[in-house]
């Protein structure tokens, strides 16, 4: 069991559930990604990958009961390099719960949005235009 005050390694992934309406199409990157608006909160909830791994849980387990949400991942190293603190704050129904604490400037929000990768992308729930772009990109 990972202690609540254990440091979070830079390579640890931090997962964040993404509502389908928060997924945008980035034509320059030719891929869907979370909107920068996802990363605004000074105390942004995440699910810490090492706790999930330690418990034998897949990251996708954090989507249980939320079939339309996607799951995005950032590394702890990226957020801490941007003056953020990763705090473990387990909850009764989510032992992997944590928070990314710190002021998130516009530049930082966009940086996180562009750096995020989708661990799970629920294509069927996306805005039809985003979904069409995803499918178009796949066939190219």
């Amino acid at each position: 069991v990972i202690a609540n005050d254990a440091p979070v390694a830079d390579t640890t992934e931090l997962f964040r559930r993404i509502h389908p309406t928060e997924v945008v199409w980035d034509a320059d990157e030719d891929r869907p990604r979370p909107s920068s608006g996802v990363f605004k909160k000074i105390d942004m909830s995440v699910h810490i990958g090492d706790v999930l791994q330690d418990a034998g849980l897949e990251p996708a387990s954090t989507l249980e009961g939320r079939p339309n949400h996607s799951l995005a991942a950032l590394t702890a190293g990226l957020v801490t390099s941007e003056e953020q603190l990763v705090k473990r704050s387990p909850q009764p129904d989510d032992i992997s719960h944590g928070e990314v604490l710190g002021k998130k400037s516009r530049a930082r929000q966009l940086l996180f949005a562009r750096a995020a990768r989708f661990e799970v992308l629920q294509e069927d729930a996306l805005d039809p235009q985003v979904r069409a772009k995803v499918q178009e990109a796949r066939t190219q």
Partner: protein, 167 residues
Amino acid sequence: MGDQVIVAESPPKTLTDRSLQVERVALVQAWSTTSSTGEPTVVKVKLGQQPSAWLRSALQQISALTALAAGWDSYDAKPVSAEMVMEAVEFLIEIAYPDLARPSIVPLADGGLQVEWHRNGIDLEVTFSDEDAGVYVVDRNKRETVERPLSYAAFEVTRLAARLRDT
């Protein structure tokens, strides 16, 4: 992210005339900020001419977003506020140039909305929010970053319209 931040005191006059005349005939019906279920916000927009296809689509999208209940993001998001909806709709009407690509319209956890374009080396994000309103532009071709009050949003879109086209 960029190398240069442009600051100005007030937005310049709009760069171009509007090709679309739009009359807003009714406003917000009601909103309860204490509602846990997220009562729908009603915004009626009367379009004076045939609107651009993307404007109609964008308004429909905003309409759908107003139905999101508290906690829609699976964390602690607020419902989209009527005030932010009105601000976003007024902005979209102002910049409803038919050639523009349809922007993404994203709800924010604080009850706001964000309108965004990401194309041709431009990230342009207009944020309607009680906490963090404004317009943010990254021009990667020019290595330039612009962060301005919301009053500049239409100006920035117009200034960059040629690169925000649906090509």
